[in-house]
Amino acid sequence: MKTYQFTKSQELFKRAAKVIPCGIYGHFSPAPLVPATSYPFYTARSAGARFWDVDGNEFIDYMCAYGPMILGYNHPLVDQAAAKQIQSSNCTTGAPSVMVELAEFMVDLIPAADWVFFAKNGADVTNYSTMIARDATGRKKIVMIKGGYHGASSWMQAPGHHGTIEEDAENIIRIPWNDVPAFEKAIENNPNDIAGFIATPYHVPVFADNEMPDEGYWKKIEALCRKHGIVLIVDDIRHGFRMDIGGSCEYFGFTPDLICFCKALANGYPISALMGSQALKDVTARVFYTGSYWFQAEPMAAALETLKELKRIDGPKKILATGKKLLDGLVKVAKTYGYDLKVTGAPSMPYLRITNDESLMLHQDWCAECTGRGAYFTSHHNWFVSTAHTDEDIQQTLEIADDAFQIIKQQYGDRF
């Protein structure tokens, strides 16, 4: 099987590093890709479930832009709706009318929520959710999960990271995932001082197996929040619309006070949303928060079309099934080489790890070999599946995986 070269990506990166701090920063930084030089850095074009890098290499994309793409790149309906909106108006003086249409649609779609507030990025709304929780309760502290990610604002980052100060974490209590007693203890140790509990629907750490909630976990957390007047915030930014069209809380059967959406909301157009219960609507109204582009109409039109289409085709159900097909196939191929490919998380956004080598090196090499043959796999982060991934894509992916396993077997022999 032909393997890829990344000469142009590297050339472009050299230019970038001169004028952009570390060339490509944030979650697109190549640093966690192992080895970084075996991955494409720059995209030239995309369509459906695929993208082509600047070297002309074609990839079946299992990262989906790290979540935003859910219906496939360049989706005709979404792009048409966005283009039509732009032709009439985009960023103007005054709120766009499509905003109301989108809000009504979302409030109908998400059973747990009665209102919606729009912003741009995920951290805009996770941050806002804590402000609302604090204002509603008159309390300071926020409980979050160790290893949980809610964005890059300083309070969200683990202590010790560059640019943060100790005081940023002063009002943050980190407890382990699936640990109800730890939450009870936090409540006991901080009487009447916990404003909010924020967590993702299930735990999605990097470099580690993802963890579903234990039986009854969310119900217990919800009950504790109700009992102690703590605002329950679910960060559905990554999971949203990949598990249930009504929000992931529907999948797990609990009712949060606030829900944060972003990534898949508009199939790649920049928009995030905070949704909430009636009880918090007036509090939200008085907590000032805004941004220059938060009233931009184009992403709202795109979001409306994305959600309509996801609802029409039952997108979450479709990608859960597609993911399962892919994962069953991959696990089977791995087994033929004597490797245990462990899958955790939902099939629509699975985390994979070959358990034979706990250092992850074998797994990293396999992911890089797959990427170099056209199946874009990361080794550190959960993957994403879209409704554009077809049976043919899966078939081709399994062939690539098989070829890559052959290389890995040659390289590692019977060491694992």
Binding site: F13, S29, V34, F41, H161, H162, E358, S359, L360
Partner: protein
Amino acid sequence: MGHELIKARLNLCAVLKNLEDLVQYDPEMAALSKQWNISIQFSILLGPKAFIEFQNGKCRVGQGKLPKPTIILFFFSPAHLNRMMDGRGFPIPLKGFTKIPFLNGDFQKLTKKLEYYLKPTDELLKDTTYCELNTRFTLNTAAHAIPEIGSLDRVGIHAVSHIQNGDILMKILPDGPAVTLRVRNGNITPVSGETERPMACLYMKNMQVANAFLNAKLDAFTAIASGDVMIKGQTPMLDSMGLVLDRIPLYLG
């Protein structure tokens, strides 16, 4: 823990540790110390104890107390030791008065040479041998500073508490030098050389890259993306280690 105390521990356990390699890799210093049979105990009031021992052409720098040192150097405080290391103070000899000429003479030649290697200039680094030794010493200093900062500095303690068990290998390609940091339950032990089963690896492409990288003249993200520095394995171990390494200049900068 106080700044001066951490700095003193770094000076003793990480900076002076390089004397071991200095007498091995610098021919002039090897010749100078070949016949030495002498040991120096550093004793710091309310501070760490450490020693330097020369025997059979080899040097050993360790923590704790020697039973019968030839020389005992006393310091009133960690700050006193740090002043001496910065060339602004003198120790108080408690034992080995006859050896004072040695301390002021040959031993000083040795420490001056170490200082020469640890304070590079762009001009000096053009010399391959100099660059190689500076790189080796910087790598050693970093490796031995990590356990200290990881157990004494607040940010360091927090970062180290997250590191999983396993060996971290840092190696300069193609043939070294290399150091292994053995992590066991939050304790880190530096071991010189490679490890057979690393949990995480950080490879530097060549001596020039390693020199720039270890002296913080190369941004890690850029270096990794361009392949100058290669990481693999449980790389969160390297992220935590990086946070600890970034603290070194606060004390030794």
